[in-house]
């Protein structure tokens, strides 16, 4: 039984110019202990999915369709109070540049303890502090730094504190939204190792959201490629990377930089983000697609099953 099953999720934002369909009909499933990555450019809807899972959508957003089944309960049908019970205790989130969210006038240990105590009123402060210590060890910060203030920490250490906070209540699922953007390569490596560590040791499921496909490849078992609010390709990492089927996936895979391959002139094709307020009926990627056919712009593409663990939303890959 999957830990998380999302069926046909559609979310939109009410804006001055109309209703922006940010996420359209996204479905996926995640088992306990596995990790799933969402990759796409800015505006593709991946962060909205994360927010929807946490129940943190802003006021002008509405879920127009779908179910989010977490441990067999539909999160979308829960009351605010019920969601608060789940949030942080069962599902936690690491935000982008969350290290800036640390309060500069409180000690780091106090801030983590506060998170623990807020969700579990029964335990004593002393017990909470002991948990903080073990959390620090888990994320690789020397316990003697526990009582420092945030400004004594480097950016990478602060991000690890945020991870510790997310782990504080032993959630079964952690959603990491661009946790390593704006961090240096070395720090990024440390953060990714920390994430892989707790995923393996504590069997916590991870949903990893990023625009950087290389980073996702490092951490996840399954990957979902998002474009214009839709999932366009989904499958095991090996499947998607060895045989990318959707033209967008192919273009993403041809535009990353690594050190372990020869330097090749990469071709990046820039195109427009499709209009999400009045999307066309055909394939949304059509305008940017280098291999589009005439029918692509007329009919919406359907899912094509390439293997039991790999599917793509494209009329051309049959």
């Amino acid at each position: 039984m999957a830990l998380l099953t999302v069926k046909n999720l559609s979310v939109g934002y009410h804006t001055r110019k109309g209703f922006l369909k940010s996420v359209q009909g996204v479905s996926f499933a995640l088992d306990q202990g596995k990790s799933l990555g969402f990759v796409g450019e800015s505006g593709c809807g991946k962060t909205t999915i994360g927010m929807a899972l946490m129940g943190l959508l802003p006021n002008n957003a509405s879920v127009t369709n779908g179910e989010i089944l977490f441990e067999d309960q539909d999160l979308l049908k829960m009351s605010k109070k019920e969601i608060q019970q789940i949030r942080w205790k069962k599902i936690a989130m690491i935000f982008q540049a969350a290290m800036n969210a640390l309060n500069p006038v409180h000690r780091v240990s106090d801030q983590i303890a506060e998170a623990i105590l807020a969700h579990d009123a029964d335990i004593s402060k002393k017990t909470a502090m002991k948990q903080v210590e073990s959390l620090f060890q888990l994320v690789g910060i020397p316990p003697d730094r526990m009582n420092d203030y945030p400004h004594h920490y480097s950016g990478g250490m602060k991000q690890r504190v945020i991870i510790a906070m997310a782990l504080a209540c032993h959630p079964s699922l952690i959603i990491a939204d661009e946790p390593t953007t704006a961090l240096d390569v070395i720090v990024q490596d440390q953060i990714l190792s920390a994430i892989k560590d707790f995923r393996n040791k504590l069997k916590i499921s991870v949903i990893f959201i990023s625009h950087d496909i290389a980073v996702v490849a490092d951490v996840c078992d399954t990957i979902g490629i998002m474009f214009a609010g839709q999932l366009v390709e989904y499958g095991r990492i090996e499947d998607v990377f060895y045989s990318p089927m959707h033209p967008y996936t192919q273009s993403l895979l041809s535009s990353y930089l690594t050190l372990n391959k020869d330097v090749v002139q990469l071709n990046a094709y820039l195109g427009k983000t499709p209009d999400l307020i009045n999307p066309t009926t055909g394939c949304l990627f059509c305008e940017r697609c280098t291999v589009a056919e005439a029918t692509c712009s007329l009919r919406a593409p359907e899912w094509v099953k390439i293997s039991p663990t790999h599917k793509a939303l494209c009329s051309r890959c049959k």
Binding site: Y242, L259, V263, Q265, T273
Partner: protein, 269 residues
């Protein structure tokens, strides 16, 4: 390609220290040594990469070269001339030849300037051309960064454009006077990976066409390798290693360089 006889920028024993002020949250005033006796030669026509993590001093180096900061010690030479302490007219002449592309495309364009205003600003400041020739020069610059048709963009404002477009405007602005040397300070760190490649290709194309020298500041060794001829690795205010890009990647001699290489996400596929 680089011309070994022609050193365009030379740093001689440059040092720079920042002093922070005492404050309630940050404690006693601290001294941060950003650069410790750095010496560096950059040759005309090359794309030179400066790779390091936050706090390594790479951005400070770039800012010193474009004279947004003054070094505490050492000399800065441009084309053989000592520009360490120039002011006034000499500084203005220098500024015409040396430009910068900033990191944050969301902050490096004046929100009240149209695209035309921003890109033509260097022309106005240095009294180059008249209103007609300026329009042509702006067009040429916008074309070179792929914003076509250029006239469509003239009267747009930054808030109407994406990050990638804004950064291209910033590049067009830096290049409109056809400078000899441009510092690109982490030009893609705030952009998506796919757009980053596009920007690199634009810079590469511009370099070939105008034979301008670039100093590319980045924290990504992979990006530097893609774009640059030579790379210098900077750590804690000192240069760890300098050499041709491929050599540094294949045979790193400094332990920090090795650490950087190991830390890069490795593609298993």
């Amino acid at each position: 390609m680089k011309d070994p006889n022609n050193v365009i920028i030379k740093l001689e024993n440059i040092s720079k220290t920042f002093r922070t002020r005492a404050s309630l949250f940050k404690g006693d005033p601290k001294e941060v040594i950003a650069l410790k006796q750095i010496s560096l030669n950059i040759y005309r026509g090359e794309i030179f990469g400066l790779v390091g993590e936050s706090g390594s001093g790479k951005t400070t180096t770039g800012r010193l070269i474009v004279k947004l900061e003054e070094p505490d010690e050492g000399k800065l030479l441009f084309d053989g001339n000592d520009i360490t302490k120039i002011k006034g007219k000499a500084l203005k002449i220098f500024r015409r030849k040396v430009q910068m592309i900033f990191q944050d495309p969301y902050q490096s364009l004046n929100p009240y300037f149209s695209v035309y205003d921003s890109v033509s600003e260097p022309l106005v400041v240095h009294s180059v051309g008249n209103s007609k020739t300026r329009k042509d020069m702006v067009r040429e610059s916008l074309n070179s960064v792929g914003l076509t048709p250029p006239d469509d963009f003239f009267y747009r404002y930054p808030h109407q454009m994406s990050g990638g477009q804004r950064q291209r405007i910033a590049i067009a602005r830096a290049m409109v006077l056809k400078p000899e040397f441009v510092v690109a300070d982490e030009p893609t760190s705030m952009l998506d990976a796919s757009i980053a490649i596009h920007i690199f290709n634009i810079l590469s194309r511009i370099q070939k066409k105008l034979n301008v020298t670039f100093l590319f500041i980045t924290h990504s060794l992979a990006a530097a390798r893609y774009l640059c001829d030579r790379i210098a690795v900077i750590y804690n205010g000192e240069l760890a290693e300098i050499g041709p890009a491929e050599n540094i990647i294949q045979n790193p001699s400094h332990p920090y360089t090795r650490a950087l290489i190991d830390a890069h996400p490795r593609f298993r596929f």
